[in-house]
Protein backbone atom coordinates (compact mmCIF):
# COMPACT_ATOMS: atom_id res chain seq x y z
CA UNK A 1 0.00 0.00 0.00
CA UNK A 2 1.60 3.20 -1.19
CA UNK A 3 1.49 6.03 1.23
CA UNK A 4 -0.15 9.26 0.18
CA UNK A 5 2.03 12.30 0.34
CA UNK A 6 1.78 13.78 3.81
CA UNK A 7 -0.29 16.91 3.78
CA UNK A 8 -3.03 18.67 5.58
CA UNK A 9 -5.57 18.51 2.78
CA UNK A 10 -6.62 15.52 0.81
CA UNK A 11 -7.40 15.32 -2.89
CA UNK A 12 -10.14 13.18 -4.31
CA UNK A 13 -7.52 10.72 -5.45
CA UNK A 14 -6.07 10.48 -1.94
CA UNK A 15 -9.51 9.72 -0.59
CA UNK A 16 -10.07 7.17 -3.32
CA UNK A 17 -6.91 5.54 -2.17
CA UNK A 18 -8.23 5.56 1.41
CA UNK A 19 -11.44 4.01 0.13
CA UNK A 20 -9.50 1.23 -1.52
CA UNK A 21 -7.53 0.54 1.64
CA UNK A 22 -10.62 0.55 3.85
CA UNK A 23 -12.32 -1.84 1.47
CA UNK A 24 -9.25 -4.06 1.45
CA UNK A 25 -9.36 -4.23 5.26
CA UNK A 26 -13.09 -4.97 5.17
CA UNK A 27 -12.73 -7.73 2.59
CA UNK A 28 -9.71 -9.12 4.42
CA UNK A 29 -11.65 -9.36 7.66
CA UNK A 30 -14.70 -10.83 5.97
CA UNK A 31 -12.41 -13.47 4.53
CA UNK A 32 -10.93 -14.10 7.97
CA UNK A 33 -14.46 -14.67 9.33
CA UNK A 34 -15.25 -17.00 6.48
CA UNK A 35 -12.06 -19.05 6.87
CA UNK A 36 -12.47 -19.17 10.65
CA UNK A 37 -16.01 -20.49 10.32
CA UNK A 38 -14.73 -23.00 7.77
CA UNK A 39 -12.44 -24.31 10.49
CA UNK A 40 -9.20 -23.26 8.84
CA UNK A 41 -8.05 -20.68 11.36
CA UNK A 42 -7.09 -21.57 14.92
CA UNK A 43 -7.31 -19.26 17.88
CA UNK A 44 -9.39 -16.36 19.09
CA UNK A 45 -10.21 -13.76 16.45
CA UNK A 46 -11.64 -10.26 16.68
CA UNK A 47 -12.50 -8.22 13.62
CA UNK A 48 -12.94 -4.47 13.44
CA UNK A 49 -15.63 -4.26 10.79
CA UNK A 50 -17.00 -0.74 11.03
CA UNK A 51 -13.77 0.75 12.40
CA UNK A 52 -11.74 0.83 9.19
CA UNK A 53 -11.73 4.60 8.95
CA UNK A 54 -9.89 4.83 12.25
CA UNK A 55 -7.10 2.48 11.21
CA UNK A 56 -6.67 4.12 7.82
CA UNK A 57 -7.20 7.71 8.92
CA UNK A 58 -4.66 7.48 11.73
CA UNK A 59 -2.03 5.36 10.00
CA UNK A 60 -2.09 7.43 6.80
CA UNK A 61 -1.38 10.47 8.91
CA UNK A 62 1.77 8.94 10.39
CA UNK A 63 5.28 9.73 9.23
CA UNK A 64 7.49 6.90 8.07
CA UNK A 65 9.27 6.35 11.40
CA UNK A 66 6.30 6.72 13.71
CA UNK A 67 5.27 3.61 15.56
CA UNK A 68 2.05 2.08 16.75
CA UNK A 69 0.91 -0.38 19.39
CA UNK A 70 -2.37 -2.10 18.74
CA UNK A 71 -5.02 -4.15 20.49
CA UNK A 72 -6.65 -7.55 20.21
CA UNK A 73 -8.65 -6.06 17.31
CA UNK A 74 -5.57 -5.46 15.23
CA UNK A 75 -5.95 -6.59 11.62
CA UNK A 76 -6.93 -3.16 10.33
CA UNK A 77 -4.19 -1.29 12.19
CA UNK A 78 -1.62 -3.80 11.02
CA UNK A 79 -2.59 -3.58 7.34
CA UNK A 80 -2.85 0.20 7.53
CA UNK A 81 0.63 0.40 9.05
CA UNK A 82 2.01 -1.37 6.02
CA UNK A 83 2.15 -5.07 6.77
CA UNK A 84 1.46 -7.03 3.59
CA UNK A 85 -1.87 -8.90 3.49
CA UNK A 86 0.06 -12.06 2.66
CA UNK A 87 2.16 -11.80 5.82
CA UNK A 88 -0.86 -11.02 7.97
CA UNK A 89 -2.92 -13.87 6.58
CA UNK A 90 0.02 -16.25 6.92
CA UNK A 91 0.23 -15.29 10.60
CA UNK A 92 -3.45 -16.09 11.09
CA UNK A 93 -2.77 -19.50 9.58
CA UNK A 94 0.16 -19.97 11.99
CA UNK A 95 2.87 -20.05 9.33
CA UNK A 96 6.51 -19.10 9.52
CA UNK A 97 5.93 -16.52 6.77
CA UNK A 98 3.51 -14.69 9.07
CA UNK A 99 4.30 -11.23 10.39
CA UNK A 100 5.01 -12.79 13.81
CA UNK A 101 6.35 -16.01 12.25
CA UNK A 102 3.56 -18.07 13.76
CA UNK A 103 4.42 -17.15 17.36
CA UNK A 104 1.83 -14.44 17.81
CA UNK A 105 -1.48 -14.97 16.06
CA UNK A 106 -4.30 -12.51 15.57
CA UNK A 107 -3.94 -10.86 18.96
CA UNK A 108 -0.13 -10.54 18.78
CA UNK A 109 0.67 -9.07 15.40
CA UNK A 110 4.10 -7.45 15.15
CA UNK A 111 6.01 -5.83 12.31
CA UNK A 112 8.96 -4.07 13.84
CA UNK A 113 10.48 -3.04 10.52
CA UNK A 114 7.28 -1.23 9.64
CA UNK A 115 6.88 0.34 13.06
CA UNK A 116 4.29 -1.97 14.56
CA UNK A 117 5.39 -2.60 18.17
CA UNK A 118 2.76 -5.22 18.56
CA UNK A 119 -0.87 -5.93 19.09
CA UNK A 120 -1.73 -6.64 22.69
CA UNK A 121 -4.24 -9.11 24.05
CA UNK A 122 -4.29 -7.49 27.48
CA UNK A 123 -6.68 -4.55 27.42
CA UNK A 124 -4.59 -1.43 28.02
CA UNK A 125 -1.42 -3.53 28.03
CA UNK A 126 0.28 -1.67 25.21
CA UNK A 127 -0.12 1.87 26.49
CA UNK A 128 2.86 2.08 28.86
CA UNK A 129 5.23 0.75 26.19
CA UNK A 130 4.20 3.59 23.89
CA UNK A 131 5.07 6.07 26.63
CA UNK A 132 8.45 4.35 26.93
CA UNK A 133 9.04 4.34 23.19
CA UNK A 134 8.13 8.02 23.05
CA UNK A 135 10.53 8.66 25.93
CA UNK A 136 13.27 6.95 23.92
CA UNK A 137 12.47 9.23 20.94
CA UNK A 138 12.71 12.24 23.24
CA UNK A 139 16.01 11.06 24.72
CA UNK A 140 17.45 10.73 21.22
CA UNK A 141 15.83 13.89 19.86
CA UNK A 142 14.25 11.87 17.08
CA UNK A 143 11.19 13.52 15.49
CA UNK A 144 9.06 10.43 15.95
CA UNK A 145 5.71 9.82 17.62
CA UNK A 146 4.40 6.71 19.37
CA UNK A 147 0.72 5.98 18.84
CA UNK A 148 -1.33 3.69 21.05
CA UNK A 149 -4.65 2.33 19.88
CA UNK A 150 -7.14 1.14 22.50
CA UNK A 151 -10.87 1.01 23.05
CA UNK A 152 -13.32 2.70 25.37
CA UNK A 153 -13.14 -0.35 27.63
CA UNK A 154 -9.43 0.26 28.20
CA UNK A 155 -10.09 3.69 29.71
CA UNK A 156 -11.17 1.92 32.89
CA UNK A 157 -7.95 0.09 33.50
CA UNK A 158 -5.02 1.32 35.55
CA UNK A 159 -2.45 1.27 32.77
CA UNK A 160 -4.52 3.83 30.87
CA UNK A 161 -4.54 6.32 33.73
CA UNK A 162 -0.93 5.71 34.74
CA UNK A 163 0.26 5.97 31.15
CA UNK A 164 -1.55 9.19 30.32
CA UNK A 165 -0.41 10.70 33.59
CA UNK A 166 3.21 9.83 32.95
CA UNK A 167 3.10 10.82 29.28
CA UNK A 168 1.81 14.28 30.12
CA UNK A 169 4.11 14.66 33.10
CA UNK A 170 7.14 13.87 30.95
CA UNK A 171 5.79 15.60 27.86
CA UNK A 172 6.62 12.71 25.56
CA UNK A 173 5.61 12.57 21.88
CA UNK A 174 2.71 10.14 22.11
CA UNK A 175 -0.81 10.07 20.74
CA UNK A 176 -3.44 8.00 22.50
CA UNK A 177 -6.10 6.93 20.02
CA UNK A 178 -9.21 5.86 21.87
CA UNK A 179 -11.50 3.97 19.51
CA UNK A 180 -14.76 4.41 21.31
CA UNK A 181 -16.94 1.77 19.68
CA UNK A 182 -19.31 1.93 22.67
CA UNK A 183 -18.76 -1.66 23.72
CA UNK A 184 -16.25 -3.18 26.13
CA UNK A 185 -16.63 -6.71 24.83
CA UNK A 186 -20.35 -7.18 25.62
CA UNK A 187 -20.71 -4.34 28.09
CA UNK A 188 -22.16 -1.08 26.79
CA UNK A 189 -20.50 2.21 27.56
CA UNK A 190 -23.22 3.30 29.95
CA UNK A 191 -22.49 0.26 32.10
CA UNK A 192 -18.74 0.72 32.23
CA UNK A 193 -18.15 4.47 32.26
CA UNK A 194 -19.56 7.07 34.61
CA UNK A 195 -19.12 9.80 31.96
CA UNK A 196 -20.61 10.14 28.50
CA UNK A 197 -17.95 12.25 26.83
CA UNK A 198 -14.88 10.04 26.78
CA UNK A 199 -12.63 12.94 25.79
CA UNK A 200 -13.02 14.17 29.37
CA UNK A 201 -10.72 11.37 30.44
CA UNK A 202 -7.81 13.53 29.30
CA UNK A 203 -8.85 16.51 31.40
CA UNK A 204 -7.59 14.95 34.61
CA UNK A 205 -4.08 14.86 33.17
CA UNK A 206 -4.16 18.30 31.60
CA UNK A 207 -3.76 16.59 28.27
CA UNK A 208 -4.87 18.05 24.97
CA UNK A 209 -7.90 16.19 23.74
CA UNK A 210 -9.39 16.08 20.24
CA UNK A 211 -12.78 14.63 19.40
CA UNK A 212 -13.46 13.22 15.98
CA UNK A 213 -16.09 11.27 14.06
CA UNK A 214 -14.46 7.93 13.49
CA UNK A 215 -16.74 7.00 10.61
CA UNK A 216 -15.37 9.88 8.53
CA UNK A 217 -11.90 8.92 7.37
CA UNK A 218 -11.03 12.41 6.20
CA UNK A 219 -11.90 13.82 9.60
CA UNK A 220 -9.86 11.12 11.33
CA UNK A 221 -6.90 11.83 9.07
CA UNK A 222 -7.06 15.57 9.74
CA UNK A 223 -7.50 15.19 13.48
CA UNK A 224 -4.60 12.72 13.53
CA UNK A 225 -2.38 15.15 11.63
CA UNK A 226 -3.14 17.81 14.23
CA UNK A 227 -2.50 15.42 17.09
CA UNK A 228 0.74 14.12 15.60
CA UNK A 229 1.98 17.59 14.80
CA UNK A 230 1.29 18.68 18.36
CA UNK A 231 3.13 15.70 19.83
CA UNK A 232 6.02 15.93 17.37
CA UNK A 233 6.63 19.59 18.05
CA UNK A 234 7.22 18.89 21.74
CA UNK A 235 3.92 20.40 22.83
CA UNK A 236 2.92 17.22 24.60
CA UNK A 237 0.90 14.08 24.09
CA UNK A 238 -2.64 14.12 22.74
CA UNK A 239 -5.75 12.12 23.54
CA UNK A 240 -7.67 11.46 20.35
CA UNK A 241 -11.24 10.51 21.18
CA UNK A 242 -12.59 8.73 18.13
CA UNK A 243 -16.27 7.96 18.01
CA UNK A 244 -16.75 4.77 16.05
CA UNK A 245 -18.91 1.67 15.74
CA UNK A 246 -18.26 -2.01 15.87
CA UNK A 247 -20.69 -3.42 13.33
CA UNK A 248 -19.99 -7.00 14.41
CA UNK A 249 -19.63 -9.00 17.61
CA UNK A 250 -16.74 -8.83 20.04
CA UNK A 251 -15.22 -11.98 18.58
CA UNK A 252 -15.94 -14.10 15.54
CA UNK A 253 -18.84 -16.31 16.56
CA UNK A 254 -20.16 -13.89 19.21
CA UNK A 255 -23.97 -14.40 19.22
CA UNK A 256 -24.32 -10.81 20.52
CA UNK A 257 -27.09 -11.67 22.95
CA UNK A 258 -26.40 -8.36 24.65
CA UNK A 259 -27.42 -6.30 21.64
CA UNK A 260 -30.78 -6.04 19.88
CA UNK A 261 -31.03 -7.02 16.24
CA UNK A 262 -32.75 -3.75 15.44
CA UNK A 263 -29.98 -1.69 16.98
CA UNK A 264 -27.33 -3.63 15.11
CA UNK A 265 -29.16 -3.34 11.80
CA UNK A 266 -29.74 0.34 12.22
CA UNK A 267 -26.12 0.94 13.11
CA UNK A 268 -24.97 -1.06 10.13
CA UNK A 269 -27.29 0.89 7.85
CA UNK A 270 -26.21 4.30 9.11
CA UNK A 271 -22.65 3.97 10.38
CA UNK A 272 -20.66 2.15 7.74
CA UNK A 273 -17.54 4.27 7.11
CA UNK A 274 -16.99 2.70 3.71
CA UNK A 275 -20.50 3.60 2.57
CA UNK A 276 -20.00 7.11 3.92
CA UNK A 277 -16.86 7.57 1.87
CA UNK A 278 -18.41 6.04 -1.21
CA UNK A 279 -21.23 8.57 -1.02
CA UNK A 280 -18.85 11.43 -0.39
CA UNK A 281 -16.72 10.47 -3.38
CA UNK A 282 -19.80 9.84 -5.51
CA UNK A 283 -18.32 6.58 -6.71
CA UNK A 284 -20.40 4.73 -9.31
CA UNK A 285 -21.28 1.07 -8.89
CA UNK A 286 -18.83 0.23 -11.65
CA UNK A 287 -16.03 2.10 -9.96
CA UNK A 288 -16.71 0.39 -6.67
CA UNK A 289 -16.93 -3.00 -8.34
CA UNK A 290 -13.59 -2.48 -9.98
CA UNK A 291 -11.88 -1.55 -6.70
CA UNK A 292 -13.68 -4.39 -4.98
CA UNK A 293 -12.46 -6.93 -7.54
CA UNK A 294 -8.94 -5.65 -7.16
CA UNK A 295 -8.89 -5.92 -3.36
CA UNK A 296 -10.69 -9.26 -3.42
CA UNK A 297 -7.91 -10.58 -5.59
CA UNK A 298 -5.34 -9.41 -3.08
CA UNK A 299 -7.28 -11.05 -0.26
CA UNK A 300 -7.77 -14.31 -2.15
CA UNK A 301 -4.08 -14.34 -3.02
CA UNK A 302 -3.23 -13.85 0.66
CA UNK A 303 -5.22 -16.97 1.54
CA UNK A 304 -3.38 -18.92 -1.14
CA UNK A 305 -0.07 -17.58 0.11
CA UNK A 306 -0.94 -18.49 3.68
CA UNK A 307 -2.13 -21.98 2.86
CA UNK A 308 1.06 -22.64 0.94
CA UNK A 309 3.15 -21.29 3.80
CA UNK A 310 5.55 -23.25 5.95
CA UNK A 311 4.31 -24.85 9.14
CA UNK A 312 6.66 -24.35 12.05
CA UNK A 313 8.16 -27.49 13.49
CA UNK A 314 6.77 -28.28 16.94
CA UNK A 315 10.17 -27.77 18.50
CA UNK A 316 10.39 -24.27 17.01
CA UNK A 317 8.23 -23.44 20.03
CA UNK A 318 11.41 -23.37 22.07
CA UNK A 319 13.08 -20.69 19.94
CA UNK A 320 12.86 -16.93 20.48
CA UNK A 321 12.27 -17.19 24.22
CA UNK A 322 15.60 -15.52 24.99
CA UNK A 323 17.80 -13.29 22.87
Amino acid sequence: MAKVEQKGTLSKSDLRDFFREMLLIRRFEEKVEERFRAGELPGFLHVAIGQEAVAVGVCRALEENDIIASTHRAHGHTLAKGTMPNELMAELYGKLEGCSHGYGGSMHLYDIERGNMGANAVVGGGLPAIVGAALAFKFRSEPRVGVAFFGDGATNIGTFHESLNLAQLWNVPAVFVCENNHWAESTPGWQHMPIEDISQRAVAFGMKSIKVDGQDVEAVYKASRRALEHARSDKGPVFLAVDTYRLVGHYIGDPQVYRSKEELEETRATQDPIEHLRTKLELSDDEVDEIDREVQEIVDASVEFAKNGTDPKPEDALKNIYA
Binding site: H101, G132, A133, T159, L166, Y322
Partner: protein, 328 residues
Protein backbone atom coordinates in the same frame (compact mmCIF):
# COMPACT_ATOMS: atom_id res chain seq x y z
CA UNK B 1 41.17 -2.48 46.24
CA UNK B 2 38.45 -0.14 47.48
CA UNK B 3 36.01 -1.32 50.09
CA UNK B 4 32.42 -1.04 48.93
CA UNK B 5 29.18 -1.80 50.63
CA UNK B 6 26.58 -3.84 48.78
CA UNK B 7 24.64 -0.58 48.40
CA UNK B 8 27.65 1.26 46.98
CA UNK B 9 28.41 -1.65 44.69
CA UNK B 10 24.95 -1.41 43.12
CA UNK B 11 25.43 2.33 42.70
CA UNK B 12 28.88 1.77 41.21
CA UNK B 13 27.56 -0.59 38.53
CA UNK B 14 24.75 1.80 37.63
CA UNK B 15 27.04 4.82 37.52
CA UNK B 16 29.71 3.15 35.45
CA UNK B 17 27.16 1.94 32.91
CA UNK B 18 25.62 5.41 32.72
CA UNK B 19 29.01 7.06 32.25
CA UNK B 20 29.87 4.80 29.39
CA UNK B 21 26.55 4.47 27.68
CA UNK B 22 23.86 7.04 26.93
CA UNK B 23 21.32 4.30 26.39
CA UNK B 24 21.40 3.42 30.08
CA UNK B 25 19.15 5.40 32.39
CA UNK B 26 17.44 4.72 35.69
CA UNK B 27 13.89 5.38 36.79
CA UNK B 28 11.85 4.72 39.87
CA UNK B 29 10.01 6.18 42.81
CA UNK B 30 12.04 8.61 44.95
CA UNK B 31 15.32 7.69 43.27
CA UNK B 32 16.49 11.22 42.43
CA UNK B 33 16.95 13.73 45.26
CA UNK B 34 16.07 11.20 47.94
CA UNK B 35 18.38 8.62 46.40
CA UNK B 36 15.86 5.80 46.63
CA UNK B 37 14.22 4.38 49.70
CA UNK B 38 17.37 2.34 50.39
CA UNK B 39 19.77 5.11 49.43
CA UNK B 40 21.17 3.11 46.55
CA UNK B 41 20.98 5.91 44.00
CA UNK B 42 22.10 8.67 46.34
CA UNK B 43 23.97 11.43 44.54
CA UNK B 44 23.34 10.03 41.09
CA UNK B 45 20.98 12.80 40.08
CA UNK B 46 23.80 15.28 40.73
CA UNK B 47 26.08 13.49 38.32
CA UNK B 48 23.62 12.45 35.64
CA UNK B 49 20.73 14.91 35.93
CA UNK B 50 17.02 14.39 36.30
CA UNK B 51 16.51 13.14 32.74
CA UNK B 52 18.61 10.04 33.27
CA UNK B 53 17.81 9.62 36.95
CA UNK B 54 14.06 9.88 36.58
CA UNK B 55 11.76 10.15 39.52
CA UNK B 56 8.45 8.56 38.67
CA UNK B 57 5.01 8.89 40.18
CA UNK B 58 3.83 5.97 42.31
CA UNK B 59 2.73 4.09 39.21
CA UNK B 60 4.34 0.69 39.02
CA UNK B 61 2.41 -0.40 35.94
CA UNK B 62 3.43 2.63 33.92
CA UNK B 63 6.91 2.71 35.38
CA UNK B 64 7.51 -0.90 34.41
CA UNK B 65 5.79 -0.57 31.06
CA UNK B 66 7.61 2.63 30.17
CA UNK B 67 10.93 0.96 30.86
CA UNK B 68 9.83 -1.94 28.66
CA UNK B 69 8.81 0.38 25.82
CA UNK B 70 12.09 2.30 25.98
CA UNK B 71 13.96 -1.02 25.95
CA UNK B 72 12.00 -2.12 22.88
CA UNK B 73 13.38 1.00 21.20
CA UNK B 74 16.93 0.03 22.08
CA UNK B 75 17.52 1.85 25.37
CA UNK B 76 18.81 -0.07 28.41
CA UNK B 77 16.61 1.18 31.23
CA UNK B 78 17.06 0.10 34.82
CA UNK B 79 13.79 0.50 36.69
CA UNK B 80 13.73 0.37 40.46
CA UNK B 81 10.70 -1.22 42.07
CA UNK B 82 11.00 0.12 45.58
CA UNK B 83 9.87 -3.05 47.37
CA UNK B 84 9.46 -6.54 45.98
CA UNK B 85 5.92 -6.47 47.29
CA UNK B 86 5.20 -3.73 44.73
CA UNK B 87 6.32 -5.99 41.93
CA UNK B 88 2.81 -7.37 42.23
CA UNK B 89 1.57 -4.07 40.79
CA UNK B 90 3.97 -4.28 37.85
CA UNK B 91 3.54 -8.00 37.28
CA UNK B 92 1.17 -7.69 34.32
CA UNK B 93 3.73 -5.62 32.46
CA UNK B 94 6.64 -7.84 33.46
CA UNK B 95 4.96 -11.20 32.90
CA UNK B 96 2.65 -10.54 29.95
CA UNK B 97 4.67 -7.87 28.20
CA UNK B 98 8.40 -7.86 28.96
CA UNK B 99 8.74 -11.64 29.06
CA UNK B 100 6.75 -12.21 25.88
CA UNK B 101 7.30 -9.44 23.34
CA UNK B 102 10.30 -11.15 21.82
CA UNK B 103 8.53 -14.48 21.67
CA UNK B 104 5.19 -13.23 20.39
CA UNK B 105 6.96 -11.28 17.64
CA UNK B 106 8.80 -14.38 16.50
CA UNK B 107 12.16 -12.95 17.54
CA UNK B 108 11.87 -9.53 15.89
CA UNK B 109 12.91 -7.54 18.91
CA UNK B 110 14.69 -7.61 22.24
CA UNK B 111 13.64 -6.14 25.59
CA UNK B 112 16.89 -5.25 27.39
CA UNK B 113 15.33 -3.92 30.57
CA UNK B 114 16.45 -4.54 34.15
CA UNK B 115 14.08 -4.34 37.10
CA UNK B 116 15.95 -3.83 40.35
CA UNK B 117 14.06 -4.51 43.51
CA UNK B 118 14.68 -5.41 47.13
CA UNK B 119 13.06 -7.20 49.99
CA UNK B 120 13.80 -9.11 53.11
CA UNK B 121 12.61 -9.39 56.68
CA UNK B 122 14.29 -8.53 59.95
CA UNK B 123 12.97 -5.02 60.54
CA UNK B 124 9.29 -5.64 61.29
CA UNK B 125 7.59 -3.80 58.48
CA UNK B 126 4.75 -6.35 58.55
CA UNK B 127 3.28 -8.29 55.68
CA UNK B 128 3.61 -5.90 52.71
CA UNK B 129 7.19 -4.63 52.70
CA UNK B 130 9.55 -7.56 53.02
CA UNK B 131 8.34 -10.54 51.03
CA UNK B 132 10.70 -12.66 48.97
CA UNK B 133 8.96 -13.31 45.68
CA UNK B 134 11.80 -14.42 43.42
CA UNK B 135 10.35 -17.85 42.69
CA UNK B 136 7.30 -16.30 40.98
CA UNK B 137 9.51 -14.88 38.27
CA UNK B 138 11.63 -18.00 37.83
CA UNK B 139 8.40 -19.60 36.64
CA UNK B 140 8.09 -17.26 33.64
CA UNK B 141 9.86 -18.21 30.40
CA UNK B 142 11.44 -15.11 28.89
CA UNK B 143 12.65 -13.60 32.15
CA UNK B 144 16.06 -13.93 33.73
CA UNK B 145 16.24 -13.78 37.52
CA UNK B 146 19.25 -12.74 39.58
CA UNK B 147 19.68 -12.67 43.36
CA UNK B 148 23.05 -11.37 44.51
CA UNK B 149 24.44 -11.86 48.00
CA UNK B 150 27.76 -9.94 48.15
CA UNK B 151 29.09 -6.53 47.05
CA UNK B 152 31.35 -8.05 44.40
CA UNK B 153 28.57 -10.22 43.05
CA UNK B 154 25.92 -7.54 43.06
CA UNK B 155 28.15 -5.21 41.06
CA UNK B 156 29.27 -7.72 38.47
CA UNK B 157 25.85 -9.29 38.09
CA UNK B 158 24.07 -5.97 37.76
CA UNK B 159 26.44 -4.93 35.01
CA UNK B 160 25.74 -8.16 33.13
CA UNK B 161 22.01 -7.74 33.68
CA UNK B 162 22.04 -4.23 32.22
CA UNK B 163 23.88 -5.54 29.16
CA UNK B 164 21.78 -8.67 28.79
CA UNK B 165 19.32 -8.38 25.90
CA UNK B 166 16.56 -10.01 27.94
CA UNK B 167 14.41 -8.66 30.74
CA UNK B 168 16.13 -9.33 34.06
CA UNK B 169 14.49 -9.22 37.48
CA UNK B 170 17.31 -8.30 39.81
CA UNK B 171 16.72 -9.05 43.49
CA UNK B 172 18.65 -7.31 46.23
CA UNK B 173 18.32 -8.10 49.91
CA UNK B 174 17.58 -5.24 52.24
CA UNK B 175 19.65 -6.49 55.13
CA UNK B 176 22.73 -6.85 52.93
CA UNK B 177 22.98 -3.19 51.84
CA UNK B 178 25.44 -2.38 54.60
CA UNK B 179 27.63 -5.43 53.99
CA UNK B 180 31.15 -4.37 53.00
CA UNK B 181 34.02 -6.03 51.24
CA UNK B 182 37.03 -5.16 49.13
CA UNK B 183 36.20 -5.15 45.46
CA UNK B 184 38.59 -4.75 42.54
CA UNK B 185 39.04 -1.33 40.93
CA UNK B 186 38.05 -2.81 37.64
CA UNK B 187 34.46 -3.88 37.41
CA UNK B 188 34.50 -7.52 36.48
CA UNK B 189 31.21 -8.52 34.80
CA UNK B 190 29.87 -11.80 36.20
CA UNK B 191 28.12 -13.86 33.57
CA UNK B 192 24.49 -14.70 34.28
CA UNK B 193 23.95 -18.40 34.90
CA UNK B 194 27.15 -19.06 36.84
CA UNK B 195 26.99 -20.25 40.44
CA UNK B 196 29.62 -19.35 43.03
CA UNK B 197 31.07 -21.77 45.52
CA UNK B 198 31.69 -19.74 48.67
CA UNK B 199 33.14 -22.52 50.72
CA UNK B 200 34.45 -25.95 49.88
CA UNK B 201 33.29 -28.91 51.93
CA UNK B 202 33.02 -32.69 51.88
CA UNK B 203 29.91 -33.78 53.76
CA UNK B 204 26.97 -31.54 52.85
CA UNK B 205 26.21 -28.95 50.16
CA UNK B 206 24.09 -25.99 51.17
CA UNK B 207 22.60 -24.24 48.14
CA UNK B 208 21.55 -20.84 49.40
CA UNK B 209 20.43 -17.49 48.01
CA UNK B 210 20.38 -13.91 49.29
CA UNK B 211 20.69 -13.44 53.03
CA UNK B 212 20.70 -17.18 53.57
CA UNK B 213 24.10 -17.43 51.90
CA UNK B 214 25.51 -15.64 54.94
CA UNK B 215 23.42 -17.66 57.38
CA UNK B 216 24.68 -20.80 55.64
CA UNK B 217 28.31 -19.69 55.84
CA UNK B 218 27.96 -19.05 59.56
CA UNK B 219 26.21 -22.38 60.06
CA UNK B 220 29.01 -24.07 58.11
CA UNK B 221 31.59 -22.62 60.51
CA UNK B 222 29.63 -24.00 63.43
CA UNK B 223 29.24 -27.41 61.83
CA UNK B 224 32.95 -27.47 61.11
CA UNK B 225 33.56 -27.25 64.85
CA UNK B 226 31.53 -30.41 65.16
CA UNK B 227 33.46 -32.14 62.41
CA UNK B 228 30.91 -31.73 59.63
CA UNK B 229 32.41 -30.27 56.46
CA UNK B 230 29.96 -28.04 54.59
CA UNK B 231 30.13 -26.69 51.05
CA UNK B 232 28.16 -23.50 50.40
CA UNK B 233 27.06 -22.68 46.86
CA UNK B 234 25.12 -19.60 45.76
CA UNK B 235 23.46 -20.02 42.34
CA UNK B 236 23.39 -16.17 42.06
CA UNK B 237 21.32 -16.45 38.90
CA UNK B 238 18.10 -18.36 39.48
CA UNK B 239 17.18 -18.35 35.79
CA UNK B 240 19.14 -19.53 33.89
CA UNK B 241 20.30 -21.90 36.59
CA UNK B 242 23.83 -23.29 36.74
CA UNK B 243 22.57 -26.83 37.23
CA UNK B 244 25.95 -28.40 36.53
CA UNK B 245 27.64 -26.60 39.41
CA UNK B 246 24.92 -27.57 41.87
CA UNK B 247 24.76 -31.18 40.73
CA UNK B 248 28.52 -31.71 40.75
CA UNK B 249 28.77 -30.28 44.26
CA UNK B 250 26.10 -32.66 45.56
CA UNK B 251 27.71 -35.60 43.76
CA UNK B 252 30.81 -34.77 45.77
CA UNK B 253 29.16 -34.31 49.18
CA UNK B 254 26.18 -36.71 48.77
CA UNK B 255 23.95 -34.49 50.87
CA UNK B 256 22.04 -31.32 50.10
CA UNK B 257 20.28 -28.51 51.91
CA UNK B 258 18.48 -25.76 50.01
CA UNK B 259 18.01 -22.49 51.86
CA UNK B 260 16.24 -19.20 51.19
CA UNK B 261 14.31 -16.63 53.12
CA UNK B 262 11.18 -17.05 50.98
CA UNK B 263 8.35 -19.31 52.07
CA UNK B 264 9.40 -22.94 51.60
CA UNK B 265 6.20 -24.07 49.84
CA UNK B 266 6.65 -23.48 46.10
CA UNK B 267 9.90 -21.68 46.79
CA UNK B 268 12.98 -21.65 44.60
CA UNK B 269 14.45 -24.42 46.76
CA UNK B 270 11.73 -26.77 45.54
CA UNK B 271 13.03 -26.38 42.01
CA UNK B 272 16.62 -26.90 43.12
CA UNK B 273 15.61 -30.01 45.06
CA UNK B 274 13.89 -31.40 41.97
CA UNK B 275 16.96 -30.75 39.83
CA UNK B 276 19.25 -32.40 42.36
CA UNK B 277 17.12 -35.47 43.01
CA UNK B 278 16.71 -36.10 39.30
CA UNK B 279 20.37 -35.73 38.36
CA UNK B 280 22.08 -36.92 41.52
CA UNK B 281 19.59 -39.42 42.90
CA UNK B 282 22.07 -42.26 43.14
CA UNK B 283 24.57 -40.05 44.91
CA UNK B 284 22.23 -38.86 47.67
CA UNK B 285 22.74 -40.37 51.12
CA UNK B 286 19.90 -38.44 52.74
CA UNK B 287 16.69 -36.68 51.76
CA UNK B 288 17.23 -33.12 50.53
CA UNK B 289 16.50 -30.71 53.35
CA UNK B 290 14.66 -27.45 52.72
CA UNK B 291 15.07 -24.28 54.74
CA UNK B 292 12.72 -21.36 54.21
CA UNK B 293 10.10 -19.23 55.89
CA UNK B 294 7.12 -20.85 57.54
CA UNK B 295 3.91 -20.74 55.54
CA UNK B 296 2.74 -17.42 56.88
CA UNK B 297 2.52 -13.78 55.84
CA UNK B 298 5.22 -11.78 57.58
CA UNK B 299 3.94 -10.75 61.00
CA UNK B 300 4.66 -7.41 62.59
CA UNK B 301 5.70 -8.24 66.16
CA UNK B 302 9.47 -8.86 66.14
CA UNK B 303 9.23 -12.15 68.03
CA UNK B 304 6.76 -13.50 65.51
CA UNK B 305 8.74 -12.23 62.53
CA UNK B 306 11.88 -13.87 63.83
CA UNK B 307 9.97 -17.09 64.32
CA UNK B 308 8.66 -17.13 60.75
CA UNK B 309 11.85 -16.47 58.76
CA UNK B 310 14.84 -18.83 58.75
CA UNK B 311 18.17 -18.15 60.44
CA UNK B 312 21.58 -19.70 60.87
CA UNK B 313 20.24 -22.18 63.43
CA UNK B 314 17.66 -23.46 60.97
CA UNK B 315 20.35 -24.08 58.37
CA UNK B 316 22.50 -25.81 60.97
CA UNK B 317 19.61 -28.06 62.02
CA UNK B 318 19.04 -29.00 58.40
CA UNK B 319 22.74 -29.76 57.91
CA UNK B 320 22.71 -32.02 60.95
CA UNK B 321 19.58 -33.81 59.81
CA UNK B 322 21.29 -34.74 56.54
CA UNK B 323 24.18 -36.33 58.42
CA UNK B 324 21.92 -38.03 60.95
CA UNK B 325 22.87 -35.97 63.93
CA UNK B 326 20.78 -34.21 66.47
CA UNK B 327 21.08 -30.45 66.55
CA UNK B 328 22.33 -30.39 70.09
Amino acid sequence: MPELSYREAVRDALSRAMREDEDVFIMGEDIAEMGGSMGVTQGMVDEFGPERVRNTPISEMALAGTAIGAAMQGMRPVAEIMYEDFLTLATEQIVNQAAKHRYMSGGQLTVPVTFRTQGGAGWSPGAQHAQQLESWFVHIPGLKVVFASTPTDVRGLLWSSIYDDNPVIFFEHRTLYGLKEDVPDELEPIPLGKARTHRQGEDVTVIATGRLVHEALAAAEEAEQEGVSVEVVDPRTLQPLDEDALISSVKKTNRCVVAHEAVTRGGFGAEVAAVIQYSAFDWLDAPIERVGAKFSPLPFAPVMEEFVVPHQADVLDAIYRTVGRNAN
